[in-house]
Amino acid sequence: MAGLLFTPLAWAALSLLLDFRRGRWLSWLGMLIQVLVSLSLWFAVAGGGGFFYALAGWEAPLGIALRVDGLAVSFVLLTAAVATACGVHAGVYLDPGKSWQRYFWPLFWFLWAGLNGVWLGADLFNLYVGLELISLAAVGLVALGGEAAALRAALRYLFAALLGSLAYLLGVALLYGQFGTLSLTGIAGVVGATEPAAALALLLMLAGLALKTALFPLHGWLPPAHGIAKSPVSALLSGLVVKASFYIAARLWLELGDRLGSQLLAQGLGALGAAAVLWGSWRAFRQPYLKQVVAYSSVAQIGYLFLLFPLTYAVAEPVSRLAQQGITLQVISHALAKAAMFLAAGNLILSVRSKRVDALGGVSHFLPFSLFSFGLAGVSLMGMPPTGGFAAKWLLLQASLASGQWWWIAVLLLGGVLAAAYVFRIYRASFLEDSVSDDFYHPPKTLEAIPMILALLALGLGLVAEPVLSVLALPFEVAAGVTAVQP
């Protein structure tokens, strides 16, 4: 159990001492262990239900309380999968000759530790710590490479992340002042319906998290950062990092939103999400550079997540559950698909030696495998069956219909069409046969295989959505217990 949180930190410390090549071997070993532990935890929860866990027997607020439920372990597992994929990919993709690459592994592991901390964290401050860890590691990863543009993007990212953290911390402080506890369940237990200070706190925290999640119109930092980073880094950032802040926002909302939130706030967040879907997709469609397309696509896909707020506020319990399931699937499938897409895009860029979309002509018969991975991931983003993206869209559609909020239907459907527009733009460019260029580089097989595996996972998610969702929805074995179970 502790391994999940602290072993990544240990790996980080160890790899700090090594150069890139040796760090790579160490990290690959670490990843294997992480994956195995995550899997066993997942099966433990799937079999026995979730639980609370107080680290080393210390309970919150002094110690670190972990909340190990189906959702959390699933995200842990997702992180393990995506991060491993990116890590393996990065190990081959990054050029070991550059001296700064040795910092990749420590940052990578810090990021992982932060993510696990967020998924499992049960109190607001721990969540904050995890979030900060993630942000700093992520900024470092973006900056890795040292180009001026990368540094600029990283600084911008850092600024946004800090601003977001500040707002979040302010909210946490307000809540702590009011209720004297940082435990989310603790606060949820005592909070009343009309507490303006608490409502303000929630608003602040949500705003901060929205900035970190790159919700429209606060998304300005994301495309440059995700676009300029190395492909495996972009994959990590788009696939996992933005989800962490959203995860916290969602937890806050689901615990406190029914009392502290308002219809206006819920609809407003939903509207911003909708705007993100439309604007992000449109921008993605217009980008001349391949990775920018993918980055803007993230802005759009993140927009869907914010439909959670209106679809769970003041609606019947089954509808809310539908929406939560839909959003969860969207998080998972987007993580897998977007990681696949960034990695595949990296391969394509390597192959044609240009970042431009219109340089892709002819790549379809030179690098069909990577293009196919890219395409499969795109299918999931479009929300076409049988992918996880479709399953998510279907559930959200059902939730919108059942809650009578039909306007989100338009967003969901239109978003799919726009996604198709920017994905097919890439296909179109790559199918063009009249390009004269015959000068392609063939990336190693590993690089080609990884995005395919991720894309297939995203695809398969739709087919096994029901069993996955049933694990996600597993209740806690002991309602608010403090049983310490050492795995």
Partner: protein, 498 residues
């Protein structure tokens, strides 16, 4: 897992696995790829034949598992499913053979055949889908897997056509999804049932159900090439001939038409649709499309374009049949699903042969081709006459049944439409036939290579002849058991049971 559950899955997997294997094979291993292709096609034909026999005997082939909360993935082989599955299994084998010959020495064959197999897997899924959700799943998969085939040539024109194809079909898919989701919200997960689900339904829901019906039909109508959402079809003919054959005869337009059949009969029930007055407007639209497609075809000089407009017209026959309330009309629509496929695939095979062997793409370049390529031209002539509705060919059986169905449904004007359309068909097909046989050759044919005793590559030579034989036999022997007509009657009888 029992055999009854295994067979539908195997029918799907046979081409799905073929796709995977083909993608995995290196571009250069042509023989192995061809072998895999043919083996899969023959295997699938065998499975489908076994299932057809089983369905005839009353065996229930079905398999389902829960995919999402409240939604299951369901494969089920009923008589209607076998009608479509049989068509695609038979024609896939022939198209595969044809495609192997057609794409000889062309690049990107691995990609082509991979998506080709995916496309057929989707079609099989559409045929065997047991509920609307599963249907949609494969319906969209079909859209995606045909795109690379449409743009296969990679020319600017092909890409443009692909773009329009994807805009139309994805747009249709969105409308369809909306309809399906809405219906699911109203009535839950609806499995296809021969008499439909809404014989008795709360009148308060009628309004919403009508809207859902319109959405579903509109979404499906895109693929079925109904006016005014037919625009993608004539453009998509830039694709290689086997793809056109697949698009027009087996997969895409058929998927749309088949979907409409499913929606009208197996979801809403023909009784409900009739009582709500949903059939009449659809009939008018279909009739208009029939005439519109034929009229447009008259002016096309490009052979494949003319065939494409003809498809628009012919597929709406199926829809027209669906809208004729009464078993005869239903039989007419259903049987045309097959007959049109057989006839149109023959025509596209022939058009492809002319293009590949003689380099002829335009109607006015076909003068005297009958003497140079008699077998192909005979096949073309037979299919064209069949389209016109000349007995005893396949098209006549359709036209007769549809006409009789229209009269039985007291919709006499439909007969007029059928007759007019026949005349128009004659007006755009007969001049081609005339050119083939009666006009002298304008310029000497290119003699790039010899094919031995045959007039063209053997892989291209036989498929149109086989389909020609089929189109004669299904008409000539229409009343025998297992003919498309008898099978359609079997289905229709079950649909109108009280």
């Amino acid at each position: 897992m029992s055999l009854t559950a295994l067979l539908p899955i195997l029918a799907l997997l046979s081409s799905l696995l073929a796709a995977v294997v083909i993608f995995a094979l290196p571009e250069s291993s042509h023989r192995l790829r061809t072998l895999v292709n043919l083996l899969a096609a023959v295997l699938k034909l065998g499975i489908v034949a076994a299932m057809t026999w089983g369905v005839f005997r009353g065996v229930d082939f079905s398999v389902s598992f829960s995919m999402l909360p409240g939604v299951s993935f369901m494969l089920r082989a009923d008589a209607l499913a076998m009608l479509f599955a049989g068509l695609s299994a038979v024609l896939w084998l022939l198209t595969t053979i044809y495609a192997v010959g057609y794409l000889e020495d062309s690049p990107n064959r691995s990609r082509f055949f991979g998506f080709f197999s995916l496309c057929v897997a989707s079609t099989m899924g559409i045929a065997l889908a047991g509920n609307l959700f599963t249907f949609f799943l494969f319906y969209e998969m079909l859209t995606l897997s045909t795109y690379p085939l449409v743009v296969h040539r990679g020319t600017a024109r092909a890409l443009q056509a692909g773009r329009n194809y994807i805009i139309y079909t994805l747009g249709g898919g969105v409308v369809l999804l909306l309809g399906i989701a809405w219906l699911h919200g109203l009535a839950g997960d609806l499995a296809f049932r021969e008499t439909g689900h809404f014989q008795s339904v709360d009148p308060a829901l009628h309004g919403q159900l009508t809207l859902v019906f319109v959405l579903l039909v509109a979404g499906l109508g895109v693929k079925a090439g109904m006016f005014p959402v037919h625009g993608w079809l004539p453009q998509a003919m830039v694709a290689p001939a086997p793809v056109s054959a697949l698009l027009h005869a087996v997969a895409v337009v058929k998927a749309g038409a088949f979907g409409i059949v499913r929606v009208v009969y197996d979801i809403f029930g023909i009784d409900f649709a009739y009582r709500q007055g949903l059939l009449e407007p659809l009939a008018w639209l279909a009739a208009f499309t029939v005439l519109y497609g034929s009229l447009r075809a008259l002016w096309q000089l490009d052979l494949k374009r003319r065939l494409a407009f003809s498809t628009i017209s012919q597929v709406s026959y199926i829809i027209l049949g669906v809208t004729l309330f009464g078993p005869l009309g239903t039989v007419g629509g259903l049987v045309h699903l097959l007959h049109q496929g057989i006839m149109k695939i023959t025509l596209f095979f022939c058009a492809g042969n002319y293009a590949e062997t003689l380099g002829v793409h335009r109607v006015d370049e076909l003068d005297g081709a009958g003497a140079r390529m008699p077998a192909t031209s005979i096949a073309f002539t037979a299919a064209a006459l069949g389209m016109i509705g000349v007995p005893p060919l396949a098209g006549f059986v359709t036209k007769w049944t549809l006409g009789a169905g229209a009269l039985a449904a007291q919709m006499e004007w439909v007969v007029l439409v059928l007759l007019l359309s026949s005349l128009l068909n004659a007006a755009y097909f007969l001049p081609i036939v005339y050119r083939l046989w009666f006009l002298p050759v304008a310029a000497p044919w290119p003699e790039e290579r010899r094919w031995g005793r045959l007039e063209t590559n053997a892989w291209l030579f036989w498929p149109p002849l086989v389909t020609m034989l089929l189109l004669v036999l299904v008409g000539l022997l229409a009343p025998t058991a297992f003919s498309p007509l008898s099978w359609a009657q079997l289905i229709a009888v079950r649909m109108y049971l009280p």
